[in-house]
Symmetry: C2
Subunit: 185 residues, 2 copies
C-alpha cells in the first residue's frame, strides 16, 4: 500500500460531505484523492463502501470532539452551546452535518448507512445526557428536567438546525432557537 488510505478516507469524507453521495462520481474521487481508479476500487471495493468508511470516520471524529469538548472546565451551558454550534456546521453552513445529509439521502433504504447514523445519533444524545446530568448535579442546570428527554430534544434541535441552515437565510434566527433551548435547561 503506497498511498495513505487513511488520509484518502478523510479526503473522501470531505468530498461526500460537500457533494452528497449520489452527486459524487468516481472521477471526482480519483481527482480529489489523487489516486487512480484502480487503486480506488482495489483498496475500497466500491464507492458505496468508501462512503460507509467516510461516515464511520466522520462519526468517530465527531465523538472525539464531543469527548474533548465536555472535558473542558467550561460551564455546562457553554459546553453544550459550543457542541451544538460545531455539530450543526454553523459557519461553513452549506455543508450541514454529513450524517444528517446521508440520512436524508439514503436513510431509509440503505441499512449499512443507518447503522452508522443511528450509532452517532445515539452517541451524541448520550453525551448530551451525561453533560446535562453533570450540570444538574453541579447546580448549573435545573434538576427538575428529565435529562434523557432534554438530551433528546437537544439532538432533535441539532439535526433540525443543521438542515435549516442549508436553506434558510437569516441564520441568526435559527441560532436563537438553540440558545433558547439551552437556556431552558
Amino acid at each position: 500500500m503506497q498511498f495513505d488510505a487513511d488520509a484518502a478516507i478523510e479526503t473522501a469524507m470531505g468530498v461526500f460531505w460537500r457533494n452528497g453521495y449520489g452527486a459524487t462520481t468516481p472521477q471526482t474521487l480519483t481527482s480529489e484523492l489523487q489516486i487512480g481508479k484502480g487503486s480506488l476500487y482495489n483498496t475500497f471495493k466500491s464507492k458505496h463502501h468508501l462512503f460507509v468508511l467516510s461516515l464511520a470516520r466522520y462519526s468517530t471524529w465527531r465523538m472525539g470532539f464531543l469527548a474533548d469538548n465536555f472535558a473542558s472546565p467550561d460551564p455546562v451551558r457553554l459546553q453544550l452551546r459550543e457542541a451544538v454550534e460545531v455539530l450543526t456546521g454553523y459557519g461553513d453552513h452549506d455543508r450541514g452535518c454529513l450524517l444528517v445529509n446521508a440520512t436524508a439521502e439514503l436513510g431509509s433504504s440503505d441499512q449499512s448507512v443507518t447503522e452508522v447514523t443511528e450509532d452517532l445519533f445515539a452517541g451524541i444524545e448520550d453525551a448530551f445526557r451525561v453533560a446535562i446530568q453533570r450540570g444538574q448535579r453541579n447546580g448549573e442546570l435545573d434538576p427538575a428536567n428529565d435529562p434523557g428527554a432534554a438530551a433528546g430534544a437537544l439532538l432533535t434541535t441539532v439535526v433540525g438546525t443543521s438542515l435549516l441552515l442549508k436553506s434558510r437565510t437569516g441564520q441568526g434566527r435559527v441560532l436563537r432557537t438553540i440558545d433558547a433551548t439551552i437556556n431552558g435547561l
Copy 2:
C-alpha cells in the same frame, strides 16, 4: 393536452418523495406516471422542472392542511400536536418530509429548490406562530413565551424529527420530544 398534467405532478410528487431526486430516473417517471417520454419532456421541460413543480405542489398541499388544521375547534395544543405529527410524516415514517429531503439533497446548490423550501418553512413557522399567539390570548398557553421564538423552535423540532424518524428505531422516544416541546408552551 390529453393526459391530466395535474394528476401527473401529484404522482411525480409521490415518486420523488419516496426515492429522492437523484435516484428517480426518467424511466421510473414514465412508468409511474403512465405517460411516454415525449409527453413527459414536452409537458414538463425537464426532470428538474418537474421536480420543482412537485415541490411547489407539496408545499401548497401542506399549507392547505395547516390552514384546515388550525381552523378546527380543537385546543391549540392538540392542533399543534396533530400538525407536527402529520408534517414529520409520522406513520409512513420512511419518507419523512419531501421538503426536508430535498433540502438535504439539493439544498445549498440549487436555488430554484431553496426558493420553494424557504417559503414553506417560513409558512409553517408563521402558521405555528399565529396558532401560538391565539393560544396565548385564549389562556391555553403561557403568554410569557415569545411566540416567534416558540414557533421557530417548533419548526426546528419538526424538521429534526422528520429526519430522525428515517434513521431511528424506537420512534416513541422521538415523539416524546415533540410532546415535551408542545407541553412546554
